[in-house]
Symmetry: C2
Subunit: 344 residues, 2 copies
């Protein structure tokens, strides 16, 4: 049975959503065991209210946890017994196969990097996330594409971009069942000579790697369109792009609400249009698609959104299980084998 370590502390709604998600998973057929890491008294009290399989949910008590507004490095230094570090340690020691957290993103990534090894050949880990697209992807017609890095790094070199491409391709294949995901570098033009020095060099390397379905550079236009399955960029750029998409979503939502409040005729129109509006909102609200993987560690690490409910936590746990079963680490290792070695 696969075991998932859950940092139970830190989501916006508090540990209850994590506890409820774990209880739900324990009632389902898929053989998954979870370890809830956090305030034992609180978790026990929350768990009592749930119906769950006692053989498949465990609690590990910790005394503290990292808040969203804290500096992760400072907090982890000060509190070695916090839930993020203890949960990552369970994975490092082999007591769990993967790590899921819904609290501070920085604390989850930093705790993982302090406890877990990276896949051989990966120098920098990357946070990947799905964003809504007009075009659909893969055999299940997913209305979203994967983008990485969206914030684990700031600036990176060509080899880092190459490893991001390999990791994104592996994750997309495993989770979205796309046999040969189309992978592209995000740049300011489609020609191989366009972009920063790191992008131009990564382009040349990726073009020579048979293990990757590299289709070249894409531009900003291609992000909402969804021209490719995996978009690769440095963390600084990915962060700006991701937050911008979030902002566009909120603005569209505001305008719709505003119209709704103002005019009766518009109300009628909105009711008739509800399916269309829902479609736009769905497209711009990727939060429903659950967890974002931190790629590059030898064991899977999944960041669930801070605003997750129990269903989103349940989905993140199932995604974690899938990456364990389908050997994400091994797939990344194999993909990197065809990359030229880093000069060091």
């Amino acid at each position: 049975m696969i075991t998932i370590a859950l940092d139970a502390m830190g989501p916006d709604a508090g540990p209850s959503v994590v506890v409820e998600g774990a209880a739900q998973v324990s009632r389902e057929e898929a053989p998954i065991r979870t370890i809830l890491v956090g305030d034992g008294v609180e978790i026990q009290a929350l768990l009592k209210r749930q119906s769950y399989d006692r053989t498949r949910v465990e609690i590990v008590n910790t005394t503290d946890w990292v808040r969203q507004d804290e500096k992760p490095a400072v907090a982890l230094d000060a509190r070695p017994g916090c839930s993020a570090l203890v949960a990552a340690d369970l994975v490092a020691k082999g007591e769990a196969d993967a790590l899921v957290g819904a609290g501070s993103t920085g604390a989850l990534i930093l705790a993982s990097s302090r406890k877990l090894e990276r896949v051989e050949g990966v120098r920098r880990c990357a946070l990947a996330t799905v964003h809504p697209t007009e075009q659909q992807h893969g055999p299940h017609d997913d209305p979203f594409a994967l983008m990485l890095d969206v914030g684990a790094t700031l600036t990176v070199d060509a080899q880092d971009l190459v490893s991001f491409a390999v990791m994104g391709s592996a994750y997309s294949r495993i989770i979205s069942s796309i046999e040969k995901p189309r992978v592209a570098l995000l740049s300011n033009g489609t020609e191989p000579t366009k972009g920063t020095a790191a992008i131009v060099e990564a382009h040349a390397i990726l073009a020579g790697m048979p293990s990757i379905n590299f289709v070249g550079n894409v531009e900003g236009l291609d992000i909402p369109r969804g021209t490719v399955d995996v978009v690769v960029c440095e963390g600084f750029l990915g962060n700006v792009v991701l937050k911008m998409l979030e902002g566009v979503s909120e603005v569209v939502s505001d305008i719709a609400k505003d119209a709704y409040a103002r005019k009766f005729l518009w109300k009628l129109g909105l009711m008739m249009l509800s399916e269309g509006i829902r479609q736009i909102r769905t497209m711009t609200d990727w939060r429903q698609y659950g967890g974002a993987p931190v790629l590059g560690f030898s064991k899977p690490v999944i960041k669930a959104h801070g605003r997750s409910n129990a269903w989103a936590i349940r989905n993140a746990i199932r995604v974690a299980r899938k990456t364990v079963e389908r050997d994400l680490g091994g797939t990344i290792r194999a993909g990197l084998a065809s990359a030229p070695a880093r000069a060091s």
Copy 2:
């Protein structure tokens, strides 16, 4: 009377829109003279069909021009007599006060940099453009904010970002009549320590400059919201962001069209909602707002959109006149005077 040199060649619709725009300006009260630079025979034929003031429109014949799909540097080297270079030269020699073009952006910028001087203290010029925002700006409640650089540069240093901030602030003050435009650096967090080394250094410099209303860093979220009046970033990032906004606009438009075609009930809803939909479209279609300035040259250079019609060209000419009258170059020079000198 102020004279504007117009590169008449290269817009998507051909020189007719530029000729028509110049004719219209000559019929209006504002004292503006234009010089149409391009294929003299074609321009003369087009002009004959217009009603215009002969004392205020002139033609300078050239034998060639740079196409949108050509590499600007190669094309300008091969054709020193092309319309972009000849038009820029008229401005350099003082025969015109400003330059407007609607053809290849790269050719306009490169021709300007070969012929025109830069404002003292400016090492790199920047292409600025307005983008639609939820919040309104300035005394005229403009529904858009300025962003630069969106593609004249790739990566830049801290001093370049500082000069972009000064130039954007000056342009926003002159064109949108905002007395103290709020200026921000685009980064991956609002703290002064967030971002690349260049951003962190520029932040520290701008915080100490009384001539700029510097409000700190903004994030991707703030672009569609419009939290500030001027967003400053390197050209690579600005290019990706701008094209992404364009993509979002196209996707929203596609969805609306698709819904329209499919369902009668939706049609009815769309008709009722037309004002709301128009509002969203307006917000996401910044092309209506006319020209984008290339900032940093001692004389104003305005890039009109390739898809401009005669009205958009007329507006770009009027914007160029405003920047001459209100001394954009002098305003930038004064703003830069309080910046620390570049170590060189």
